[in-house]
C-alpha cells in the first residue's frame, strides 16, 4: 500500500459551461483524516464522486489506493468505501437485510459477512435493531448504518460526503469518534463537510471555493499562518448596525458577525481598538468588550473566500 492513499493532479469537471471543479491538486497520506471544507455547491461532492469513479473527470488525473480512477475505476471500487450525502441505503429493507445485501455486493463470504455484520452492528449501536425497517430509524442511526455498510469489506480508504448533515450534535460527536476509530486502524478517511468545527478534527484540510482550492494545511497551520492581521472581537448593542457602520471605514479590512458579536479585522491592534470604540461611540452604540482573538477556522475560511472572490472579480475586470 503506497504512502500516498490519494494523489490528485489538476482534476477538473465541467458540466456544459459550468466548471464545478477547477484543476484541483492535492495528496492524502495513508491513515490520515483528510477534510474537504467548503460551502454548498463549492465542488466537494463532485470531487468525491470523481475519486470514487462515479463521474468521469473532464481533465486531470488521480490515483486512489494506487489505481488510476480513469483507467481502473473498478479496481478503485474494490478498495474504497463510500457514503453519499443523501442517504442511499434501501429504506424498505431492514438493517440486517441492508448489511447482508451490501456484504453480498462486495463478495464477502458467509463467514466473513457474519463477522463483519456483528462488528458493524456493534459499531453503529444497532445491536437489537436488526429487524427494524431502515425507514423507521432516526437520521443519526441511519448515518451510522450507512458508514457501517461502507466499511463492510474493510476498505483501505473511505469517502464520506457530508456524513453528519442533519444530525444532532451528540450524534455528530459520536460519529466522529467512529471516524477516529477508523483512522486509528490505519484507514484513510476522506471527509467533506461545511461544518467548520468538524474541520478541527481533521489532520489535513483543504478549503474549496467555486471549484478551486483556496487554502490548505493542518487546522493549526491554517489558523496561525493564514491571517496576518489581528482580529478584534467586538461585543456591542445593535450588532448589525455596528457592522454596517464599521464596514464603511477604510481602516477596517473585514467584518463579519459571529453569533451576537462582531469580528473586525484591522491593521494594528491598539490603533484598531481605539478606532472602533471611537467610531461606534459617535453613533451612540455602546460597546461592552473589544478583545483580540486567535482566528478561528471560520475566520480563515471567510477571509480566504473573500480574497478569492476579489481576485476573481479583478480577473474578470481585466478580461
Amino acid at each position: 500500500m503506497p504512502e500516498l492513499a490519494i494523489e490528485v493532479r489538476s482534476l477538473s469537471k465541467r458540466f456544459g459551461d459550468f466548471i464545478a471543479v477547477d484543476a484541483v491538486s492535492f495528496d492524502v497520506d495513508r491513515g490520515r483524516i483528510f477534510g474537504f471544507l467548503g460551502a454548498n455547491g463549492a465542488g466537494k461532492s463532485t470531487t468525491i464522486r470523481m475519486l470514487c469513479g462515479l463521474l468521469d473527470p473532464t481533465s486531470g488525473t488521480a490515483t486512489v489506493g494506487g489505481f488510476d480512477i480513469r483507467r481502473e475505476p473498478e479496481r478503485v471500487k474494490c478498495v474504497i468505501g463510500y457514503m453519499s450525502q443523501k442517504f442511499s441505503l434501501y429504506e424498505d429493507l431492514t438493517v440486517a437485510e441492508n448489511i447482508r445485501f451490501f456484504g453480498g455486493a462486495y463478495g464477502l463470504s458467509k463467514k466473513d459477512l457474519d463477522q463483519r455484520a456483528r462488528w458493524v452492528l456493534e459499531m453503529a449501536g444497532l445491536k437489537g435493531r436488526e429487524r427494524s425497517l431502515t425507514r423507521t430509524l432516526s437520521v443519526g442511526w441511519k448515518q451510522r448504518l450507512a458508514l457501517g455498510c461502507a466499511v463492510l469489506h474493510e476498505p483501505r480508504i473511505v469517502f464520506l460526503d457530508e456524513p453528519t448533515g442533519g444530525v444532532d450534535p451528540a450524534s455528530r460527536r459520536r460519529f466522529w469518534e467512529l471516524i477516529n476509530d477508523l483512522s486509528e486502524r490505519g484507514i484513510t478517511v476522506f471527509v467533506t463537510t461545511h461544518y467548520l468545527d468538524e474541520a478541527e478534527y481533521c489532520n489535513d484540510i483543504r478549503l474549496i471555493h467555486a471549484g478551486r482550492i483556496v487554502a490548505g494545511g493542518s487546522p493549526q497551520e491554517l489558523k496561525t499562518q493564514v491571517i496576518r492581521n489581528p482580529i478584534l472581537e467586538v461585543e456591542a448593542d445593535r450588532t448589525v448596525e455596528a457592522m454596517e457602520v464599521l464596514q464603511k471605514e477604510p481602516w477596517v479590512l473585514e467584518t463579519s458577525i459571529f453569533g451576537t458579536s462582531l469580528h473586525v479585522s484591522v491593521g494594528d491592534e491598539g490603533e484598531g481598538r481605539r478606532l472602533v470604540l471611537d467610531r461606534l461611540g459617535r453613533e451612540g452604540i455602546a460597546v461592552r468588550r473589544v478583545d483580540r482573538i486567535i482566528p478561528s477556522l471560520e475566520d480563515v475560511f471567510i477571509h480566504k473566500i473573500e480574497e478569492h472572490t476579489k481576485a476573481g472579480v479583478a480577473e474578470e475586470a481585466r478580461s
Binding site: 423507521t136 432516526s138 443519526g140 442511526w141 444532532d168 450524534s171
Partner: protein
C-alpha cells in the same frame, strides 16, 4: 377559521402550474403525445379488411378454374400469396399465418359447370383470427356469387337471351359516413383511447410523488383542505388536457377529414367532463398507492386494455355478454366515445346525448370525491410510521 371554503385553491393551482412549467418533459408529453399518437395510428390503422392473404389449390387446372382464380387474384379483398399443388400443403402455411384463407377448386369443377351441375368450392378460413375469418368467408361468398351470376348470364346470352336483366338492384345508402371510410369511425375511437390513457397516467403519480419524496408532510401541515388540494391539482391539468384534446381534434379534421358536424359547445362540455373524470381516476390511483411504480402499473392496467376493448372502439358493445356490458358502464371512454360519435358524425344535439353526459358527470364527481375522501383519511395513516429509533 378559513375565510371561505375554497380560498386556498388558487395557491395550489399556482404551485401546480409552476411545477408543471418547470417539468417541461411532462408538459410536452401531455400536450403533444396525444396528437402524435393520433397522427401515427390514424395513418397506420383502419378497419377495412382487405388484402387477406390467400392460398389457392387448383385441382382442376381448366380455363374455368383459372378464370375463377383470376377473380381472386385481382380483387383487393384478397392477396393471392400462393398457388399450391395439393391440399396437404395448406396446413403448414395456414399454421404459420402466411395465409389466412385457402380456396380449393375440385378436379371436376369445369366439368360440373359445363354439365350444368352446381360445383362446390371449398373455402378454408383461419378461425383463430376471428375478425378476418368471418369477413373472409363473406368476401368469398360474394365473389363466388357474382361469378355464378356472370356464368349464368353468359350462358343465357349464348342461347340468345340477351335481355335478361338482373332482377334485383340493391341500393345501399350509408348515412353519416357515406363512403364508409373507417377514419370517421377510427378517429373518435382513437381520440377517446389516447386521451384516457395519457391523461390518467399523467395524474397518476401527482400525489404519490409527493408521498415518496416526503413533501406530502409539508402539505398536510398547512391548512389546505383535501378538496382544495385536489381542485388545485386538477384544474391546471384540465386546462392543459383540453388544449391537448383540441390539438387532437384539429389533427383529426385536417389530416383525416373528421370534422365536427354538431355543436361545439356540447363537444366542449363532453371533453371537459371526460377529461376531468380521467384526471380524477389518475388522482384516485395516486391516493391509494404508496409508490410511483405501483401507481403507474395501476394507471396503465385500468386504462389501456379496458378502454381499448370495452369502450366500443373496436368491438361493438351490443354483442357483449350482459355481465361484460355491465362492466362497460364503468369505463368512461364508453360514454365519451358515444357522445363523440354522435356529435362529430351525426351532428346530434343535447337530446341525443344527455345520458352520456350525465354518466360522464357522475364519473367525474365520483372519482374526484373519492380522491378527496382518501386524501383526508390519509391523516390517520401517519402514526404507524412514527416508531422512531431515538437518538
Amino acid at each position: 377559521m378559513k375565510p371561505f371554503p375554497l380560498c386556498c385553491v388558487r395557491a395550489v393551482i399556482v404551485k401546480e402550474f409552476r411545477q408543471i412549467r418547470r417539468d417541461a418533459l411532462s408538459l410536452m408529453f401531455l400536450v403533444f403525445l396525444p396528437g402524435f399518437m393520433l397522427l401515427l395510428f390514424g395513418y397506420a390503422l383502419n378497419f377495412d379488411i382487405k388484402h387477406i392473404p390467400l392460398a389457392v389449390v387448383d385441382e382442376d387446372g381448366s380455363r374455368a378454374s383459372r378464370d375463377l382464380v383470376d377473380k381472386f387474384r385481382t380483387t383487393e379483398y384478397f392477396d393471392l400469396k400462393a398457388v399450391l399443388p395439393k391440399t396437404a400443403a395448406i396446413d403448414p402455411i395456414l399454421a404459420r399465418e402466411d395465409v389466412r384463407a385457402a380456396l380449393v377448386i375440385p378436379a371436376q369443377f369445369a366439368d360440373d359447370l359445363t354439365a350444368g351441375r352446381s360445383p362446390s368450392v371449398q373455402v378454408i378460413v383461419d378461425g383463430s383470427n376471428a375478425m378476418s375469418g368471418t369477413t373472409a368467408a363473406g368476401y368469398v361468398g360474394a365473389i363466388l356469387q357474382s361469378y355464378s351470376q356472370r356464368i349464368t348470364l353468359r350462358g343465357l346470352a349464348r342461347r340468345g337471351f340477351t335481355d335478361v336483366a338482373l332482377p334485383l338492384a340493391t341500393e345501399v345508402r350509408v348515412w353519416y359516413n357515406p363512403e364508409l371510410r373507417s377514419a370517421k369511425f377510427l378517429v373518435p375511437g382513437l381520440m377517446a383511447f389516447i386521451l384516457m390513457v395519457i391523461v390518467t397516467v399523467s395524474t397518476a403519480f401527482s400525489v404519490v410523488r409527493e408521498k415518496e419524496r416526503g413533501t406530502m408532510d409539508q402539505i398536510r401541515v398547512s391548512s389546505i383542505r383535501p378538496m382544495e388540494l385536489i381542485l388545485g391539482k386538477i384544474i391546471p391539468y384540465v386546462a392543459i388536457s383540453l388544449g391537448s384534446a383540441h390539438l387532437v381534434l384539429l389533427l383529426g379534421e385536417v389530416l383525416f377529414g373528421v370534422g365536427i358536424r354538431g355543436s361545439y359547445p356540447l363537444l366542449l362540455l363532453a371533453m371537459v367532463l371526460f377529461v376531468t373524470g380521467a384526471l380524477g381516476q389518475g388522482l384516485l390511483i395516486s391516493t391509494i398507492t404508496r409508490t410511483q411504480q405501483v401507481a403507474f402499473l395501476l394507471a396503465v392496467l385500468t386504462t389501456m386494455l379496458p378502454t381499448f376493448i370495452l369502450s366500443g372502439f373496436v368491438f361493438p358493445l351490443r354483442n357483449m355478454p350482459p355481465v361484460v356490458q355491465a362492466v362497460t358502464y364503468l369505463v368512461p371512454g364508453r360514454y365519451f366515445l358515444a357522445a363523440l360519435r354522435a356529435i362529430i358524425l351525426k351532428g346530434a344535439g343535447l337530446g341525443a346525448i344527455w345520458n352520456q353526459l350525465l354518466f360522464l358527470a357522475v364519473f367525474a364527481v365520483l372519482s374526484i370525491g373519492t380522491s378527496a375522501v382518501r386524501l383526508g383519511k390519509g391523516e390517520k395513516e401517519r402514526p404507524r410510521r412514527r416508531r422512531r429509533g431515538g437518538a
